[in-house]
Point group: C2
Chain length 378, copies 2
């Protein structure tokens, strides 16, 4: 499978880059945000709706698909694209994050990781090689190496050993990779420690992957640490390879990443928040269940022209949410994803026009509520 | 609001009629099936999807909308059509069925009915007049009188008194009705007793409503009793008024109703079954969770050209159902509603061509599983 990345334009006043990716399933501009399609569906919406929203790439979770329905089933049915009716690029993660956050009784060895399925308790053993094979069977366009996702905080010695293991696993992944496979990204770990992060980055860069992900973030660390890690790492990464900040994040976090040279982002935030009735708007976050919206005829965001904002009032969306209607999740998801995609297009435009710093300042003052840590889980 | 019904064609070999209804929100042919939009949404699907499926009329539940978000709220927001973004006809029921099946601590008097909300336990009192006013505020195209929905079985004396009360309430409803209101249907009750059913029908017909509903069915009575009741009542109803068999039903029940001269049907069956993974197909009912579909590449129904069947395999639909994904409810609902709407169009065509009896025989032998009573609830 082909993969080509090119930096089209660098921002004069920050580390931001405007890039373009070409794959067998189409091209897209970066910085880009990938909605998460955990179990083979971006929850509640169809492929046609994702396209109408402007989504160009989705993420599939290898851990979930491996467990259910099973990658071999998906392979026999023609691969993930055909199975889920999505003909644009798909990035699959390696399962590392889920094994270390969802699975039970995990046991890590040099060879790989043993864990119990969170669904039925069945026992599984995954190696770096097997994770490459699984992603090959799924047929994703961008795949990731198996990594150990360090919790925060982790002691130095454990972090050191774990980072070395993730590097070794990356080496084995590269060896397993075949020419016809999709492109492969390494994952830089190293916990909260500068020397480990730098060593991880430098060693992985020498191995010459097609892209570099920064892992072990969004695991409860302070925001300032995330920014420091980005500042330590990105100068060490090759200019001509895409950089992927995994699991990030809020619009503000995305801007912070873009300014430091990040190209790819993914996060469940817009979709999960949508299902929890938390909506992103040009005037800040809106909790749709609030009584003040009971008879509010306005759309969620008067500056938005998504399907939801074109046809439905805040009053109706509040009603759907309180009545626990499925349509609530759908309409809210459409709006939040549209907000994110529009936001990424604005970022791309700002980089093209050398005004990302201004854009960031304006956005931060327009959206004070983005700075609040009020992310519901569910 | 205007309402016009016309019988275009009567079947030569059964009581079936092909009709046409015209309302301020558009026209539709009968026999017609109305999907149920309980709380202001046909669960999981949008208006655009309903239109693509071919749905021409939906039903709204007065009881639910009265309790949440409240008819007055909907009225202030421009009425039900605008609130829910549906510009085709809406039929609202009277709430009678829900008060007698869902609400708690109901107490009936000559004046009306007192009940506790199933949502928050709040106390409510509804009269026939108030139910007309509520539907006026909602702005539905077809409205129903408040009735007492008799459980099955009910003793003769209680049924007699209750039927008399429903008739008296119908009289009061007619008095409350204003010229600008939508058309009003009476509801024929009478339980399992022929004389009560006939008296109910004859008395209500004399009052000259714009249509006649047959109530108190689909409450657990044997199928043979439902057919008997239809055979007792329909000869007493005026030819030029629509007849509505409330809460019915399976494709087979619909055919049985059509043959006996029924024009309108509504039921939660296609939508509720969809959410429970039970799909209607030209080869009978399919329970999508079955292991036999795990790697089945075929659409649910190879003769179906709905959105779901055009793009998704049984294997994917099974996966979505087992993974408890919202998209499962959506795709299944689209398919089941499409099946019902296509079925109604085939019925209309068969009546037009005087071959409904043949159509019924062929359908019954093609779909043995339709005769099974295997309707999951949920």
């Amino acid at each position: 499978m082909s993969f080509h990345f090119e930096v089209i334009k660098k921002d004069r006043f920050s580390g931001a880059r405007l890039g373009k990716v070409e794959t067998d399933h189409g091209s897209f501009f970066t910085p880009a945000f990938f909605p998460v399609g955990t179990q083979g569906t971006v929850k509640s919406v169809t492929s046609e709706e994702l396209k109408e929203i402007g989504v160009e790439v989705i993420l599939g979770n290898t851990y979930h698909l491996y467990l259910r329905p099973g990658h071999e089933t998906i392979g026999r049915l023609g691969g993930l694209h055909k199975f889920i009716h999505w003909d644009r690029p798909i990035l699959t993660d390696s399962g590392g994050y889920q094994i270390f956050s969802l699975a039970k009784l995990r046991k890590i060895s040099e060879d790989g990781v043993t864990f119990q399925s969170h669904i039925d308790g069945s026992l599984h053993f995954l190696t770096p090689e097997r994770v490459i094979q699984i992603q090959r069977t799924l047929g994703s366009d961008i795949s990731m190496v198996l990594d150990e996702c360090l919790p925060y905080p982790s002691p130095y010695e454990y972090s050191q050993a774990s980072t070395a293991l993730t590097i070794e696993w990356a080496r084995r992944s590269l060896k397993e990779r075949q020419k016809k496979d999709s492109c492969l990204f390494a994952i830089i770990q190293g916990g909260a420690y500068r020397d480990l992060r730098e060593e991880s980055a430098q060693t992985l860069v020498k191995m010459d992957f097609q892209g570099y992900a920064i892992g072990g973030l969004s695991v409860g660390e302070p925001k300032s640490l995330m920014l420091s890690i980005l500042e330590w790492i990105t100068p060490l990464l090759p200019e001509n390879k895409p950089r992927y900040l995994m699991g990030v994040g809020t619009p503000e976090d995305i801007l912070d990443g873009v300014k430091r040279g990040i190209d790819f982002f993914d996060c469940v935030l817009p979709t999960r928040n949508a299902r929890n009735g938390m909506l992103f708007t040009s005037a800040g976050k809106v909790s749709i269940k609030q009584a003040q919206y009971a008879e509010d005829e306005r759309p969620i965001d008067e500056t938005c022209d998504c399907y939801t904002c074109r046809h439905y009032s805040r009053a109706y969306l509040r009603h759907l949410y309180l009545a626990n209607e499925i349509l609530s999740s759908r309409l809210n998801t459409i709006h939040n994803l549209y907000f994110y995609i529009r936001f990424m297009k604005e970022i791309q435009k700002a980089v093209r026009e050398d005004r990302l710093v201004d854009f960031t300042k304006r956005t931060a003052s327009d959206h004070p509520s983005w700075n609040q840590e009020s992310l519901p889980t569910g």
